[in-house]
């Protein structure tokens, strides 16, 4: 499914630029809006993967959009475009959960890179969700337990019951490993 980007900036030319960059260089879909106040409505209508927003805008600024995303537990990632010198605001945005920030004027490579990263992230998240969705089916749980049992036992044999090593190799929690070892060895 094509990933979607929402770009928000009070400067129309900047929006055009971003749109052009995205369209010409990325496979992603882009929606742009000049009016930040429309964003919640747009977001209400569809889901996006990424929101690229300017920081300082009249009406609703980048941070507020970020808050909106957080409050509504949306999955969109937000990239903030900041002016050179708004470092503190950028840090603040990061603390509030922005994915990254780009200072303008920017080289298009930079923004592409960041967008790519964000999209990759989102893909990963989606896939993981899909996987978890699959794995949350009922029989899987038992299969999981059985699998884990064998897996841990085998590992324990290989690693001489060294819990920390097992932990490292399997990626499972230590408590879980001990539990399995106790129960099944």
């Amino acid at each position: 499914m094509q990933q979607k980007i929402l770009a928000v900036d009070d400067q129309p030319h900047m929006l055009i630029l971003i749109e052009r960059i995205i369209k010409e260089r990325t496979p992603y879909h882009i929606t742009t809006t000049n009016n930040p106040l429309e964003v919640p409505k747009i977001m209400g209508n569809e889901n996006f993967d990424l929101i690229i927003s300017d920081l300082k805008m009249p009406g609703m600024d980048g941070l507020e959009i970020l808050d909106h995303v957080n409050k509504n537990n949306r999955n969109e990632k937000v990239i903030i475009i900041t002016a050179f010198g708004e470092l503190e605001s950028a840090i603040q945005a990061m603390q509030r959960g922005a994915f990254d920030y780009i200072t303008k004027p920017f080289k298009k490579e930079k923004i592409l890179h960041t967008i790519d990263r964000a999209m990759t992230w989102q893909r990963m998240v989606k896939e993981t969700e899909k996987m978890l969705g699959i794995l949350s089916i009922f029989p899987y749980r038992d299969a999981e337990t059985a699998f884990k049992k064998i897996y841990i036992t085998e590992l324990a044999k290989q690693l001489n019951n060294d819990v920390s090593q097992i932990c490292e190799k399997s990626g499972l929690q230590e408590s879980e490993i001990r539990q399995y070892l106790q129960n099944y060895s």
Partner: protein, 749 residues
């Protein structure tokens, strides 16, 4: 006033002025006193004469009385005898004895010593003190008696001295009158008169004054009567001298000889040696009167004498009284004068003390105000309608000195003396324009009678000096303006300060504006860059379009860099980094000033040490420090360019940043001042004088130092060039754990 009047006044003034007055007064007083004494002395002398004369006149009266008395006495005796001689028959009975005794007793008081009835051819029957007796007279004597010529029935004869019976040299006189009884015999009735007794009866009672007496001499110069009994009978001319040879009796002798013996009447005075038992030299007053003995040619002279002391007492009393009076008067005058003098002295002393006290306090007050006046750092002066200076304080004189020396093109005066300007007009001291301006103000005060408050500026030695002046009218009692009080305050510093503040604020606002502008520029810049990038993507390399687009991109990037530097420098960044990369700071600053340096033909040599550790500080502030130092170097090399070397080094725990130029250098005598606020050698408007002081403050704040060495061309040695080297030393930041602000996203399980 004519010359003579003038001179007369001064002459009098000289006399009556002050101390001289006393002396003149005293002198006049003495003269006066002397005159008074002299006159009174003369007066007294005259009075003395008068009194003496009066006294003598009295004595004369007495003398006359005595003379008359003596004369009368003799006449009485004669009359008595005559009457008796008429009773012829009474002589020739046996009662003759009785008769004679009666006659004797009757005439004794008149001075007879005996009465005799003498018969020519018979005896003399005498009655005297011892009684009746008869005796025979020698014939010679008898013949003398009876041959005496008669004058008016009398004869008077003097018994010769050798015939005196007694030892006492008395002058005996016989007064006889014939008693004719018969033709055959002649009879005489003769009275023997002791002239002394005769005189004594009268003279004895005489008292002239208190003690005056009289004496009588005859025409032979014999003393007939004198209270001093041993004088009687003696020669009047010799007796005194005999007794008191040490006294000169010329005077009395002369009187006796010339006056008395000649039968004259008169008065006089003489020196005597005796008076009523008191011996000793004394002056006597004498009055003399002649006695003519009837029946004779004899001339006696009566003298009434009294010592001067008689009169003298009165005179003395007068003298004494006069002297006492005068003395009292003089004493009174002197006491008064003295008291007045003392009083005046004390008064003047008290006044003087008071005056001195007042003077002192006045002096103190004067000094106090004078100190204020003089130490005031404002120009305070009095000026009249013709703009002449009446008085001024030291500060005014300083200012005027500079103005005058500037007007005359000389160096400022060494010794400043306010008095040298008193009386000069504004036009004489100031340049024409300034003088005219202030002149108008002064005249305005006089016209409007109100305070004039204004600002004005002078050019003084190529510096603009601002003054804030108030010209205040000073009124006299009539309400006219007597002078104008001017107070001028040098507000150059204040003006410069306000100018500076204005400039700073302008700069700040410019800075803010620039920052805002830069910020705004960033947006379209970003757009341009972005689209250019897109176009570049579509354009083939090595085409003209490609090249053109590349040029556009490059210039846009340039703009971006400039904007970044500008914003970095103009404090738009909100970053509160407290560590600074020195090299980056320098870079930023150099970027900003690069062009300026180039246009001023200044070559910049960078010599930075790589991987310079960070120092604590604020990037903006350190940029400011570097900017200041670079600017100063550039200014020092503005004439003919030069080389600016910027070097960074690590030294122990510090970072040293060097700014080395070969400009004109800083003269030795200014080395102490360059970090002072507002200190600048630039002209007004070119610099504020704050650069180095602020830089110093910043560096110090972060625990660093700024040091410098400098040599001017004059101070440099032969082969050395002039130049300045500034070293900023900052301590290295002690590295701690890097706090990275990155949130780690966890995948929810």
């Amino acid at each position: 006033m004519s010359a003579s009047e003038k001179s007369s006044i001064t002459w009098l003034d000289k006399i009556f002025h002050g101390q001289r007055l006393y002396i003149v007064n005293l002198f006049l007083l003495f003269i006066l006193l002397f005159l008074v004494f002299w006159i009174s002395w003369r007066n007294l002398a005259i009075i003395k004469e008068v009194i003496r004369n009066d006294f003598n006149k009295q004595q004369l009266v007495l003398a006359r009385q005595v003379a008359y008395g003596v004369n009368a006495n003799i006449k009485d005796i004669q009359n008595d005898l005559r009457i008796e001689s008429q009773y012829k028959s009474s002589f020739f009975n046996n009662k003759l004895q009785e008769k004679l005794s009666l006659i004797y007793k009757r005439l004794v008081p008149k001075g007879i010593s005996e009465i005799a009835f003498i018969q020519q051819r018979g005896n003399a029957r005498v009655f005297d003190a011892s009684g009746y007796s008869e005796y025979n007279i020698p014939n010679e004597i008898r013949s003398v008696y009876f041959s005496q010529p008669l004058i008016e029935d009398f004869f008077v004869l003097e018994l010769p001295k050798e015939e005196d019976i007694t030892a006492n040299p008395k002058r005996l006189i016989e007064i006889g009158t014939p008693v004719s009884i018969s033709e055959s015999d002649k009879y005489l009735l003769v009275a023997t008169v002791n002239s002394t007794f005769l005189i004594q009866t009268i003279a004895q009672k005489v008292q002239s004054g208190e003690t005056g007496y009289c004496w009588v001499i005859d025409d032979q110069g014999r003393i007939l009567y004198h209270p001093k009994s041993d004088y009687v009978g003696e020669n009047a001319f010799e007796v005194r001298e005999k007794e008191m040879p040490y006294i000169s009796f010329d005077k009395i002798n002369q009187i006796q000889k010339d006056k008395m013996l000649t039968g004259e009447e008169g008065t006089g005075s003489y020196i005597a040696g005796w008076h009523r038992g008191v011996s000793g030299i004394m002056d006597k007053l004498i009055a003399y009167s002649p006695v003519k003995i009837p029946g004779t040619e004899w001339l006696w002279s009566v003298a009434v004498v009294a010592p001067i002391s008689e009169v003298q007492a009165a005179i003395d009393k007068m003298y004494t009284r006069q002297i006492i009076l005068e003395s009292l008067l003089i004493l009174g005058i002197f006491i008064t004068v003295f008291v007045a003098f003392v009083y005046k002295r004390r008064l003047s002393q008290v006044l003087e003390k008071k005056l001195r006290r007042t003077e002192r306090s006045l002096h103190q007050t004067e000094e106090y105000y004078h100190a204020i006046f003089e130490s005031a750092l404002d120009a305070i002066f009095l000026i009249d309608e013709e703009t002449r200076f009446i008085s001024m304080n030291m500060f005014t004189a300083k200012v005027l000195c500079s103005m005058l020396s500037q007007k005359e093109g000389q160096k400022p005066c060494e010794f400043i003396n306010p008095d040298q300007f008193v009386g000069m007009t504004l036009r004489e001291i100031l340049m024409e324009g300034d003088a005219e301006f202030l002149e108008k103000k002064v005249k305005r005060v006089y016209r409007r009678k109100k305070v004039e408050s204004f600002e004005h500026r002078f050019w003084m030695n190529d510096r603009k000096i601002h003054f804030n002046s108030k010209y205040i009218p000073i009124f006299d009692e009539k309400g006219n303006i007597s002078s104008v009080l001017g107070i001028s305050r040098d507000i150059t510093e204040k003006k410069e300060m306000s100018h500076l503040i204005y400039n700073t604020e302008k700069l700040a606002s410019v800075g803010t504006l620039a920052a805002g502008v830069a910020h705004e520029i960033n947006n379209p810049l970003g757009v341009i860059l972005g689209f250019t990038d897109l176009m570049l993507d579509r354009t083939e390399k090595d085409t003209q379009e490609y090249e053109d687009l590349k040029i556009i991109e490059e210039n846009c990037l340039n703009c971006k860099r400039i904007v970044e530097n500008l914003m970095s420098f103009a404090r738009v960044t909100e970053g509160l980094e407290d560590v600074v990369d020195v090299n980056r700071c320098i870079d930023t600053v150099v970027q900003v000033v690069k062009n300026t340096l180039m246009t001023n033909k200044i070559v910049t040599e960078m010599d930075v040490e790589e991987n310079l550790p960070k120092v604590p500080g604020d990037a903006r502030e350190l940029q400011q420090v570097f900017f200041n130092l670079i600017n100063n170097s550039a200014y020092a090399m503005r004439e003919s360019g030069g080389v600016l070397k910027i070097r960074t080094r690590i030294r122990e725990n510090n970072v040293d940043i060097y700014f080395i130029d070969n400009g004109v250098g800083i003269p030795n005598h200014l080395h102490n001042q360059i970090f002072d606020p507002f200190f600048t050698t630039k002209k007004v408007g070119e610099g504020t004088g704050l650069g180095l002081s602020v830089s110093y403050g910043i560096v110090k704040k972060y625990g660093g130092t700024i040091k410098f060495t400098s040599k001017t061309k004059v101070e440099a040695k032969e082969n050395e060039k002039s130049g300045t080297k500034f070293v900023v030393t900052l301590p290295i930041h002690q590295v701690q754990n890097n706090h990275e602000i990155v949130k780690v996203e966890t995948i929810e399980s």
